[in-house]
């Protein structure tokens, strides 16, 4: 009897994955199939690869992604170790500082990097790698941090009493224990760098184009939709398969999730210097942005800020900042309302069937793996008939934002959901709580950290999203990133300083949202 009930529960929880599947199907899979069947010219499936620009883009994508990933993981692993094991002054602030960039709008961060890098480094591979480190180090901290944080200090002590030197302890205990987390951080970092778009458009340059840029160029500049779609599908399949294989090989080990008090050991000088340098790396671009927003040639001026805040009227610049903030906020809230329940429900399904983990994680990454230009075009020709003519609906934008945020919501929710002991559910049931009551009174409070992290992620992803938004937006409902881009498209001091001011406001407000909502992060 008991066995039978258990069985039933597992089966029904499996259906919780349906909303997430619908979201991915509606925003990515169906549109892409429709686009593929209507524009692909069969000859292009093979011939597109013969263009030298396509090959160059492939090679460069791969090269810069490998380089960026290697550095990000290296620096991230060192930083994560110290952040997750040692107590020091400003630790929480530091974690926030490192974590926030990942969700920052690329348009704004690109502006910040341009403001701080010496001219010689603009449009170089080095600039791209630096920006990728800036963005993605948080993946390592977020993924590996909780893992290492849960290692008992005494386990390391026991290795040392067995004769392991500090270096051997790293090699034989710490790294193996963090291995799976590091692998998964590596996969995600590589994916983010390989498909990087915003950063490359700003910091890249002639010859430094990724596959996503090449897709854009083919579709938009050359009008070669067929070739662009072939590339987009190839890239998507490649990423999906990689994720499938990658996460399949390491889906067996359960994530231990036991938050532990940070040890009271003090940092020695060398790691202190390292962390200080890293902190500088994260703050300097923002300070440079602040300076750039108030600097015109040889004078300091607040005009950019005044125009941005609407205090000063400026001929030729016409936007309503409050409206933009309202629009951004509205989209972000709706996107979160969709992504959070969908993502957490799917996570439930996942936590009961770990075997489907790899398939699902490869599946939900799809909307992120397709170039925004192609998604935009695909959606356009898919939903163009009554009653599914969604093209003119503003709701389309937050729905796409939700699909983009979905994998991140799920990643942050998975450890929490898995950390809820099954016995607790059973205990609640024996006390007479029905499934809904049990959910509301027992699980929901325990899910709080997952909800807050997921909320922070989905709000921030939506606030900064540019690619899909720029494709589908309305004049009266422009978001802040759209306004920033259009300001940087004008000649003159005031549009430039106003754009810098807007970027800084977007960065700071996103950072504040993430830090306030996500205070209970797990490291």
């Amino acid at each position: 009897m008991v066995g039978h009930r258990f069985e039933m529960k597992i089966r029904s929880v499996r259906f919780f994955v349906i909303p997430a599947a619908i979201l991915v199907f509606v925003t990515a899979v169906i549109p892409l199939i429709v686009l593929a069947t209507s524009v692909i010219d069969k000859a292009d499936i093979f011939s597109v690869w013969t263009h030298s620009s396509v090959r160059r883009a492939l090679v460069f994508s791969l090269w810069q992604a490998l380089l960026s990933t290697a550095f990000t993981i290296f620096l991230g692993v060192i930083a994560t170790w110290h952040l997750s094991r040692y107590q020091f002054f400003g630790r929480r602030t530091f974690i926030a500082l490192v974590t926030v960039p990942f969700v920052l709008p690329t348009v704004a961060v690109g502006a910040a990097f341009i403001a701080v890098l010496p001219k010689a480094l603009h449009h170089s591979t080095l600039a791209i790698v630096l920006a990728h480190i800036f963005f993605n180090i948080s993946i390592v901290v977020r993924t590996v941090g909780p893992r290492w944080n849960s290692i008992d200090d005494q386990l390391i002590d026991s290795a040392r009493t067995l004769g392991a030197s500090p270096l051997q302890t790293w090699r034989h205990v710490i790294m193996p224990l963090g291995k799976n987390a590091i692998f998964s951080a590596t996969a995600l970092t590589f994916f983010m760098c390989f498909t990087s778009y915003g950063i490359i458009t700003i910091l890249g340059g002639p010859g430094l184009a990724t596959v996503d840029i090449e897709i854009y160029r083919r579709a938009v500049q050359l009008g070669d939709l067929s070739g662009a779609t072939v590339l987009a599908i190839a890239q998507m399949l490649l990423i999906a398969i990689t994720f499938l294989l990658w996460s399949r090989s390491r889906s067996t080990e359960l994530v231990l999730f036991r938050a532990q008090a940070i040890s009271h050991r003090r940092l020695s000088l060398a790691p202190k210097c390292f962390l200080l340098a890293l902190a500088a790396f994260f703050t300097v671009p923002l300070l440079a942005l602040l300076a750039a927003s108030m600097r015109t040639r040889d004078t300091w001026s607040l005009t950019g800020w005044k125009v941005f805040l609407g205090i000063q009227k400026q001929r030729g610049i016409d936007f309503n900042m409050w409206q933009a903030i309202q629009t951004s906020a509205k989209y972000a809230l709706i996107a979160s309302c969709i992504a959070l329940p969908t993502g957490i429900a799917a996570t439930y399904a996942l936590s009961h069937r770990r075997s489907s983990h790899s398939r699902l994680s490869a599946f939900v990454i799809l909307p992120l793996a397709i170039s925004p230009v192609v998604i935009g075009l695909a959606i356009l020709i898919t939903y163009d008939f009554h009653p599914f003519d969604f093209r003119s609906s503003w709701l389309l934008i937050p729905v796409i934002h939700a699909a983009i945020a979905l994998p991140f919501v799920m990643r942050s929710a998975l450890p929490v959901v898995e950390g809820i002991p099954n016995d607790l559910r059973s205990a609640a049931s024996t006390l007479g709580a029905g499934p809904w009551r049990r959910f509301l009174t027992v699980e929901l409070p325990l899910l709080k950290p997952a909800i807050s992290t997921g909320l922070a992620f989905s709000l921030a992803m939506s606030l900064g999203e540019f690619g899909a938004t720029s494709f589908l937006t309305r004049r009266e409902s422009r978001t802040i990133p759209i306004i920033i881009a259009s300001l940087f498209g004008r000649a003159g001091d005031i549009p430039r300083t106003t754009g810098m001011a807007a970027s800084l406001v977007l960065i700071v407000s996103t950072a504040m949202i993430v830090v306030t909502i996500d205070r209970k992060s797990h490291i």
Partner: protein, 219 residues
């Protein structure tokens, strides 16, 4: 291989946990220190292992002052209260760990490992994951693991706490025999006098020389 603890003091913040403690463990014997919990027993072991630095006093092993020797070079094994087996390694590899760190030759290491597993009676489950072990089995693995690199001194921190009474008694006897068979110099800390009586050759009580501080054990 005798151990001399000479005038050790230790404080954490403004709390004194050990106050001028002296003790000697003769070669080849097992000495027990018995004290109520919170008396700084674990702290003492950690100081001996070099995991904590004492505020004053010295640890002398075989006539050599260990003050400046880092933990991994002290050749002091330790069995932790909750075993601390490596979760990513199976039983065999846990026992092999110390031998591998010392870069012992493979054949010799494998043989020693087998011998020890035989000694603690776990040869059949050598390939099992440590997550599947019972409390008693885990303790035996921990013991075998710390004996493997042939330490000059073995430290045992409440080795039998938390085991049920039947297992407790059997393991106490086993422990005594194993330590005897390997003629290991060992220092045991425990709160239980009967336990100490079974396992050890001599018993010391932590009393007058130590300020007993409630809740005084701190990492």
């Amino acid at each position: 291989m005798s151990l001399i603890i000479d005038n050790i003091s230790f404080s954490y913040g403004d709390r004194t946990i050990l106050n001028r403690l002296s003790l000697e463990v003769p070669t080849g014997t097992t000495t027990a220190v018995v004290a109520p919990s919170g008396a700084g027993k674990s702290t003492l072991l950690r100081i001996i292992a070099g995991l904590f630095t004492p505020s004053s006093g010295s640890i002398i092993l075989d006539g050599k002052n260990l003050s400046l020797v880092p933990t991994h070079l002290r050749s002091i094994g330790m069995v932790f209260q909750d075993n601390q087996l490596f979760p990513h390694l199976n039983v065999y590899d846990n026992v092999m760990f110390g031998l591998r760190m010392a870069k012992t030759e493979k054949m010799i290491a494998a043989e020693r490992c087998r011998d020890l597993l035989n000694l603690v009676g776990l040869s059949e489950i050598a390939k099992q994951s440590v997550a599947t072990l019972s409390g008693g089995e885990s303790k035996r693995v921990a013991l075998a693991r710390s004996l493997a690199p042939s330490p000059k001194l073995l430290l045992l921190d409440e080795p039998l706490t938390g085991l049920d009474s039947e297992l407790h008694d059997r393991l106490a006897l086993d422990l005594q025999q194993i330590l005897h068979a390997t003629s290991t110099t060992a220092l045991l800390v425990t709160h239980s006098i009967p336990e100490a009586e079974i396992i050890s050759d001599s018993i010391h009580r932590l009393q007058t020389t130590v300020d007993i501080v409630p809740d005084g054990e701190k990492k």
